[in-house]
């Protein structure tokens, strides 16, 4: 079992001068108190850096090593850092030293490329060579399962993904859990047996092809085994590519996640810009229509005037005609003759009548008719209604344009720190990766189907061979049959082992949960899923849906403890501020449970999460040591042992 002895840091994070933590040998808890931004996470990262050569930031994204150098020392022109971790495993003492220094000649490094790293692993009196060192570190604490030993509240939240089987991250976590439980070794054994079985089938096919009686079946069997080998090879290749694409997808999503706020802003800005373009088009169209209609505006303005004038002219024309008729009547009465009907009238009388008819009536009628003619030439057009509608449309559109331009300006201010090219690149990259994943998954499924068909063909051919085979084939057939049966037994054994393992993890996790929850007697325990997610089961056997953030937290901690208790690989738990979402009651219960979760627990916490005297009361003699992180300045922290 892996046990930490001593952690030393120099120039790492806020630890400018050499600082150290000593961990007692006895089983129990070491607590390190530190307020925010004093270096608690840096301690967790120092252990992570020692083992794996990397440091994680928020969202589990890898941080650049250049940024880990202590800022105070960097201001003095001193760059780089060193971490020394002493630990023991099953009686062997190890010392792991990892350092990061600027490359010679690089006085002011600017990026990780300007540094060189050195790693040494001493086991007893021997310093291991690079290959031995990496093999030893991988055996002691594989990177893929480090999350179960070194974690913070953020990593704990990731366990919620286990409930969503379709999620890539959930599958990654369940794969990591199986790794810590030792399942991959068994799965590899099954694979090796399957490979041996396939080889035996190939040998059987070759043997069968040697005899005329079984040549045809033998050749067909050889083809089928070759096809199976090809599909297996393709499946392995595709799985490797899918694993790599999953990693790339995770990186791209992580990169986008860190800039998620910008993505939303960019989306809003793009929408605003698209709408702006639409509006500008609408304004152009409406403006053109307005100009066309305003060419007739003068006609609309004169409509009333012309109609009134027409009315007057019509009235005048009617009056003039009436007057003419009256005049003719008076003439007829006075003279006793009618100028219109056929009564003869002397020449002298007609002359008199002509001279006496009022000239103004004819002139009046003529003028009125002329006016009407002129007025009727005017073409009336009323564009008031359409101009009003267009004017209102333009007014609203222009107001919207102004609003959108303001919005775009505001968004541009928000985006001034965004790397848009990178965002666009990451977005396009993620889309490309998703497309590739879909294509490769489809190909994978195709090969899986073909594999099933090849297996079925092999079985049919082997059955045929069994009926007609000669004694010369007995040995290869027997070998093939035995290996096949071994493979099946192994597969069944692995599944049984996994099932039993899940049940043991479930039982341990349930016990831990019942200890940590404040709702004693409410819950029967936890039920494990195939992917190692945990359902919370009420006493009435119903699954508790809609769990609170606090419940998720406690369940995740219960899972961590259960894995530690049931895993072949065991080691210390270093947890950084794990109480984020817990109330006081749950926090105290978790602290009380810590000594049962692992032999060695290092708790990094601030006093706001739990009071120092509470921890002492709860843990009693299981509290082995206490440290405090004291901030000397914004860039320097020292570690002080208080107990």
């Amino acid at each position: 079992m892996l046990t930490l002895r001593r952690l030393e840091m120099e120039g790492f994070g806020p630890y400018a001068e050499p600082q150290a933590l000593d961990f007692p040998d006895e089983p129990g808890v070491t607590v390190v108190y530190g307020e925010n931004m004093t270096g608690k996470t840096s301690l967790l990262n120092a252990v992570r850096y020692a083992f794996f050569g990397r440091v994680l930031g928020r969202g589990s994204r890898e941080r650049r090593l250049h940024h880990i150098s202590n800022r105070a020392l960097a201001a003095e022109g001193k760059y780089g850092f060193k971490v020394r971790l002493s630990f023991q495993n099953d009686g062997e003492e190890f010392q792991l030293i990892r350092s990061c220094r600027p490359t010679p000649g690089r006085l002011i490094p600017a990026d990780d490329a300007d540094y060189e790293e050195e790693t040494k692993l001493r086991c007893g009196a021997n310093i291991l060579g690079p290959g031995e060192r990496e093999a030893a570190l991988h055996r002691l604490l594989p990177d893929q399962i480090s999350r179960f030993f070194l974690f913070d509240g953020e990593l704990l939240q990731e366990y919620e993904k286990l409930l969503y089987q379709d999620d890539d991250d959930g599958r990654k976590i369940s794969d990591a859990i199986e790794q810590i439980l030792g399942v991959p070794i068994l799965q590899r054994s099954r694979r090796y047996l399957a490979d041996l079985t396939d080889e035996a089938d190939t040998m059987e096919a070759k043997e069968a092809a040697k005899s005329k009686k079984t040549e045809a079946i033998g050749n067909n069997l050889k083809s089928a085994t070759d096809r199976k080998k090809y599909h297996l090879s393709e499946l392995a290749r595709l799985q490797g590519e899918l694993d790599e694409l999953a990693r790339q997808k995770s990186d791209a999503e992580g990169s986008l996640k860190s800039q998620r706020r910008f993505l939303t802003v960019i989306q809003e800005r793009d929408q605003a810009e698209a709408r702006l373009k639409e509006l500008e088009g609408e304004i152009e169209t409406a403006s053109t229509a307005l100009r066309v209609h305003m060419a007739d505006a003068w006609r609309t303005v004169l409509r009333g005037t012309v109609e009134a004038a027409r009315g007057r002219a019509s009235e005048r024309a009617a009056q003039a005609v009436d007057e003419i008729v009256n005049q003719l009547r008076r003439r007829a009465i006075d003279d006793g003759q009618c100028s219109v009907c056929e009564q003869a009238v002397g020449e002298a009388t007609r002359s008199v009548l002509r001279r006496s008819l009022p000239a103004t009536a004819e002139t009046g009628a003529t003028k009125a008719s002329a006016d009407l003619l002129d007025l009727n030439r005017f073409e009336v057009r009323d564009v008031a209604s359409v101009v009003t509608q267009l004017a209102h449309q333009l007014s609203k559109a222009r107001a919207d344009v102004a609003r959108l331009k303001d919005l775009i300006r505001d968004k541009d201010i928000e985006l001034k720190d965004a790397d848009r090219d990178r965002l666009q690149g990451d977005t396009a990259s993620l889309a490309d990766i998703m497309e590739k994943i879909a294509t490769k998954k489809a190909a994978h499924e195709g090969h899986e189907q073909k594999l099933i068909e090849a297996d079925a063909a092999i079985k049919t051919l082997k059955d045929q061979l069994a009926k007609v085979a000669s004694s010369g084939l007995v040995a290869s057939q027997t070998r093939s049959r035995i290996l096949r049966q071994c493979t099946e037994v192994c597969a069944a054994a692995v599944e049984t082992y996994k099932s039993n393992l899940r049940l043991r993890v479930e039982a341990t996790a349930s016990d831990l949960f019942r200890r940590m929850t404040t709702e004693k007697g409410e819950y029967a325990g936890l039920r494990i899923t195939d992917s190692y997610g945990l359902h919370l089961i009420h006493n009435d056997r119903a699954v508790e849906e809609g769990r609170s953030a606090g419940a998720e937290h406690v369940i995740a901690l219960a899972l961590m403890g259960a894995l530690q208790a049931n895993a072949p690989i065991r080691g210390p738990i270093v947890m950084d501020s794990p109480f984020g979402r817990l109330d006081d009651g749950h926090t105290e219960n978790v602290v009380a449970t810590l000594p049962t979760m692992a032999r060695q627990v290092v708790l990094l916490v601030h006093k706001g999460e739990i009071r120092q005297h509470h921890v002492r009361e709860i843990l009693g003699n299981k509290l082995l040591r206490e440290y405090e992180l004291r901030k000397v300045s914004s860039r320097r922290t020292i570690i002080e042992q208080v107990r």
């Binding site: 403006s287 307005l290 100009r291 066309v292 305003m294 060419a295 505006a297 003068w298 006609r299 609309t300 303005v301 004169l302 009333g304 005037t305 012309v306 004038a309 002219a313 003028k367 006016d371 002129d374 007025l375 030439r377 005017f378 073409e379 564009v383 008031a384 101009v387 009003t388 267009l390 004017a391 209102h392 007014s395």
Partner: protein, 113 residues
């Protein structure tokens, strides 16, 4: 009595006003604005008159292609013996009226009302 003109001109002030009105983007050409000015002045019962110190802008035949304006002036100003001068006067007066209203915040729909 002065003989009639053959062209319609604009005073310096009217030129400026028409430029400002063109900038609004409501009209396709300056002649549309001038015709609206003329109509506005007629509607406002503008008297007969003559504009001074004008610079020729349009030939009368182009300004009143269909002869409708000349016909209207014959009816509305029966004593007018110089219809083109009257046309010019109404244009300049009308532009002043329109410019005043637009400066006070009127939109294109208000000029028709």
């Amino acid at each position: 009595m002065a003989s009639d003109k053959e062209s319609v001109g604009l005073s310096a002030a009217s030129q400026q006003r028409i430029t400002e009105l063109e900038a609004k983007g409501w009209f396709g050409e300056a002649a549309d604005i001038a015709r609206l000015g003329l109509a506005t002045a007629i509607r406002a019962n503008c008297n007969m008159g003559a504009s001074e110190q004008v610079e020729t802008r349009w030939a009368a035949g182009n300004f009143d292609k269909t002869g409708e304006i000349r016909s209207l002036i014959r009816v509305i100003y029966p004593d007018c013996e110089t219809p083109v001068r009257q046309m010019e006067y109404l244009v300049n007066e009308g532009l002043r009226m329109i410019h005043e209203r637009v400066t006070a915040g009127a939109g294109p729909e208000d000029l028709l009302g």
